[in-house]
């Protein structure tokens, strides 16, 4: 039954991806600029323009370009059907290679940030709900409002100034490793994992150290809405009939709280899932402040340079990941909530 549900979701996801791919293909061509102009530069003669347009393949009819992109004309260039996302118009490198370099950085950053944010936010949210109206609850409310309403780049810059420049306990915001360190051989693309695979524990620690401030920054921002959501859902759960019954039955407070948390986590997981998908591309400001070179920065650069293959690929990859995350959430929902069955 579960296998059938997952298969169905993948099939629907595939149709969504195909639809999105075609929509994005046409939508980015409505952007108010011509990507060829970036290539011709000072040499903007008609001949040079035609040459550059030919190089990019934009001299061909739109449907022909789409056919090539989808992979129906492999003799011209490999396309999606051949597993190719195209070649960047800025760097000339296959987009698949570039995404394989940039995406792990962001996944590592966002995942660690979520783990930290959850580790902080869930107990705080619970605490606030279990002690409603108290000073601590008010404090939690102010914190969650404060953390959730400040832009991450501002916190990032502030943290750099404080923890690197003033206190000297954080490394310089120069990316994943110190400039004179050599990264481990790429196996998974995740610096921490690759360092462990290579047995380079010093590089592993250094990579974690360099992730410290960006993860703190993002976790600080993320914890705000998560605290609020957990607190509200927990408060609602604590007022539900089954909790009243549990209290009347004389169950220990900690046990009742665990039951309530389980009920509160189901809707909270939805928010967390949506936030995760959003942060994959929304972590760009944190990536920028800490020079991390993740997928968000890659996306911004692609958009600013009208690098169509890169834009298309980023949208496709982020969407695919989001679809998988949403599927995973549904499965977690089912595990948490016994009323849900597939």
């Amino acid at each position: 039954m579960l296998f059938r549900y997952i298969s169905k979701r993948f099939a629907v996801g595939l149709i969504q991806l195909i639809g999105l791919t075609i929509a994005v293909f046409f939508l980015i061509r409505l952007l108010p600029a011509d990507p060829v102009s970036r290539l011709v530069g000072m040499n903007s003669s008609a001949e040079a323009y035609a040459q550059a347009a030919k190089q990019l393949g934009v001299d061909r009819p739109l449907l022909a370009q789409l056919a090539t992109y989808l992979g129906f004309q492999p003799d011209i260039a490999p396309g999606l059907l051949q597993g190719s996302l195209g070649v960047s118009w800025v760097t000339g490198t296959p987009v698949t290679t570039e995404i394989a370099a940039y995406l792990p950085v962001t996944i590592e950053l966002v995942t660690l940030s979520f783990i930290l944010a959850l580790a902080v936010a869930v107990p705080i949210g619970m605490f606030g709900a279990l002690n409603p109206g108290g000073k601590a609850d008010k404090g939690v409310f102010v914190y969650s409002l404060f953390a959730g309403s400040q832009p991450e780049f501002w916190w990032g810059l502030l943290f750099v100034y404080l923890f690197f420049f003033q206190l000297g306990i954080a490394p310089a915001p120069l990316g994943r490793l110190s400039p004179m360190s050599s990264p481990p051989d790429v196996v998974t693309g995740f610096m921490t994992i690759d360092a462990l695979i290579a047995g380079q524990f010093d590089i592993f620690v250094e990579a974690l150290h360099h992730l410290m401030l960006p993860v703190f920054t993002m976790a600080f921002i993320l914890s705000g809405p998560i605290i609020k959501m957990v607190r509200q859902n927990m408060a609602r759960a604590l007022q539900s009939d089954f909790v009243l019954y549990a209290n009347c039955a004389g169950l220990p407070r900690a046990r009742v709280a665990r039951y309530a948390l389980r009920a509160a986590m189901a809707p909270s997981m939805t928010l967390i899932g949506i936030l995760y998908g959003f942060m994959l591309s929304g972590a760009v400001l944190t990536e920028s402040v800490f020079s991390l070179g993740g997928i968000g920065q890659y996306a911004i650069s692609a958009v600013l340079n009208y690098d169509y293959p890169a834009i298309q690929a980023v949208v496709l990859v982020i969407t695919a990941i989001s679809l998988v995350v949403y599927l995973a959430l549904d499965l977690i929902h089912a595990a948490i909530d016994p009323r849900i069955a597939y």
Binding site: D34, Q55, S88, W89, G92, T93, P173, P179, V289
Partner: protein, 558 residues
């Protein structure tokens, strides 16, 4: 929870123990830049990006270059534009009868991959340029500008023969090459110093050629640019970092700095902070305000050069009301030049009184436009717009466009210009647009009516090159006439000056052209701002080059 936090703190503390030591102890430096090369092929898609050009000039060597001149007041070495000297070329002869340059090549020059430089490398470089096989054929463009025979627009046609190198570039022997021009053109030697004709190591390039890519564009674009430069590529991760190591066989001597690591740090404020801690030795691309703040920082020096960077107001002759000379003059007198210099550039700029960079040979200083709002109003009234009445009909034309990515630098300047124009009745509004869109409208469509531009630096060091690039009519050979300016006087004079072999006569004609450009307010020159770098006060030897890229070979750490 508590245990988890304690563990994280422990990890952070352990990481601190291995934090980077200042790089200046060894002869290696850390450079912080806005970006690292996106490609190393000057005929490739990223050639227009300054960070890519920085990579190319670090790895490849030109045939000729400008002699070193004295340092300026801030300690930055200046080139002597009156003297071109050999690099890979040792000396040259020119035969005016046959328009042929004979280049005598330097012997014993070795590249990073062990190849020895000879005439085949030069021929390969020109053959590759003429093949126009890259995305942006800059090598062809420069050869065309220098009137090298055969480098005509015919290369873009269907005839494959037109793309092949003929006897215009002839190998005489291993160390002698002859290059023939189609007409006398003083730009020949200046263009050979530009990044778009740096010499590739043929042997290594051909090793990486494929049937589909016979000129190794993919290799140069994504892997390495093999040449005979001062540095060799050590490590390169696009969008993150590039590291160069000194070429031990470099013909001008092994560079003093063994290793140069360039890191992309997108936030300029972070570049400032890291430089101030001493962990980096050189930082580029900050805002004028940040450079100003670093001027008093301990252990940091700021060097600046009034080189070839400037800011001007772009008014399109094809957009009403900018076709009216009085409106153009009125706008010129409404610009508060001193305020822009003080507020926008913190004093690190001068009013620009010309149409080409003042440091270039052939520049002529013109009478300065003065900030005179009363005169601006009077000129508007003469044009039929008293107090600006009637100009509201041109609201679209008065959208002052500028590159949105440069907001931190241009923001203060465009705001000053907008408020000053509004004060005299010009209904200017601000229109920040992305760089690519700006470039499209400026270079290809040519339909940008009104803009502030701070990114046009003619890379060929010659007033004539700048004039041909920006002011000559398109049908008379103009290359990038973004304001659709057309003057028979300018076109006729340029047609003569371009092929004038007598340097004095040519300079005189170029001066007449500049007089005309000023009279027509072809561009409204505003300021020449300093190209600046911030660096450790232990770093010595910084020199300025017209491409604004640092030559790491010049540097040493004391």
């Amino acid at each position: 929870m508590l245990k988890r936090n304690v563990l994280l703190s422990a990890v952070a503390a352990a990481g601190l123990a291995i934090a980077i030591a200042p790089a200046s102890a060894a002869q290696q430096i850390l450079v912080l830049a806005e970006d690292v090369p996106a490609g190393l092929d000057y005929d490739g898609p990223s050639a227009a990006i300054p960070a890519s050009q920085q990579g190319m000039v670090s790895l490849l060597e030109p045939l000729v270059g400008y002699a070193a001149g004295p340092a300026n007041e801030s300690g930055v070495g200046m080139p002597d534009f009156s003297k071109i000297e050999g690099r890979l070329v040792e000396r040259w002869d020119y035969d005016p009868a046959t328009l042929t340059w004979t280049l005598h090549l330097r012997k014993g020059v070795k590249g990073c991959d062990g190849a020895t430089f000879d005439a085949k490398d030069v021929a390969y470089t020109f053959a590759r340029a003429k093949s126009v096989s890259g995305a942006a054929p800059i090598g062809w463009f420069l050869s065309n500008v220098a009137s090298i025979d055969g480098f005509t627009p015919a290369v873009f046609g269907d005839d494959p023969k037109a793309k092949e190198l003929g006897d215009e570039v002839k190998i005489i022997d291993d160390y002698t090459v002859q290059i023939r021009q189609s007409e006398p053109n003083a730009l020949f030697l200046p263009v050979l110093s530009i990044f778009g004709l740096l010499v590739y190591d043929k042997e290594t390039m051909e090793k990486h050629a494929t049937e589909k890519d016979p000129w190794s564009h993919d290799y140069a674009n994504s892997v390495n640019a093999p040449g005979f430069g001062a540095y060799c590529l050590d490590k390169w991760t696009k969008n993150q970092e590039i590291t160069y190591k000194a070429n031990p066989d470099y013909y001008r001597g092994k560079p003093a700095i063994d290793k140069v690591s360039v890191r992309r740090v997108p936030q300029s404020s972070n570049r400032v902070v890291v430089l101030r801690t001493g962990q980096a030795q050189l930082a580029t691309g900050m805002t004028p305000k940040e450079f100003d703040s670093l001027r008093t920082a301990k252990g940091v020096a700021v060097g600046g050069v009034t080189g070839n960077e400037n800011l001007f107001v772009h008014m399109n002759f094809k957009s009403k009301p900018f076709d009216d000379p009085k409106v153009r003059q009125a706008i010129a007198h409404a610009i508060p030049f001193e305020q822009i210099i003080k507020t926008g550039y913190f004093g690190q700029a001068n009013q620009w009184n010309g149409s080409v960079p003042s440091s270039y040979p052939g520049y002529k200083a013109e009478a300065a436009f003065t900030y005179d709002p009363a005169k601006a109003k009077a000129l508007l009234a003469e044009a039929g717009y008293p107090d600006g009445k009637g100009l509201e009909a041109f609201a679209d034309a008065f959208q002052l466009s500028y590159v949105a990515e440069k907001e931190s630098t241009l923001g203060p300047v465009v705001n000053i210009i907008q408020s000053s124009l509004r004060a005299v009745g010009v209904p200017a509004t601000l229109n920040p647009i992305p760089q690519t869109q700006y470039g499209d409208r400026q270079l290809v469509k040519g339909d940008l009516p009104f803009a502030v531009n701070d990114q046009e630096k003619p890379i060929g060091v010659d007033a004539g090159y700048a004039i041909q690039l920006f002011f000559v009519s398109k049908d008379k050979g103009g290359l990038n006439n973004m304001v659709n300016y057309s003057s028979p006087v300018v076109d006729d004079l340029w047609a003569k000056a371009r092929i004038e072999p007598d340097a004095a006569k040519r300079t005189d004609m170029l001066a007449q052209i500049q007089d005309q450009l000023t009279a027509d307010v072809a561009w409204l020159p505003v300021v020449e701002y300093k190209t600046q770098w911030a660096y450790s006060d232990k770093l010595k030897g910084l020199r300025w080059y017209p491409d604004n890229a640092v030559r790491y070979f010049d540097l040493s750490v004391q």
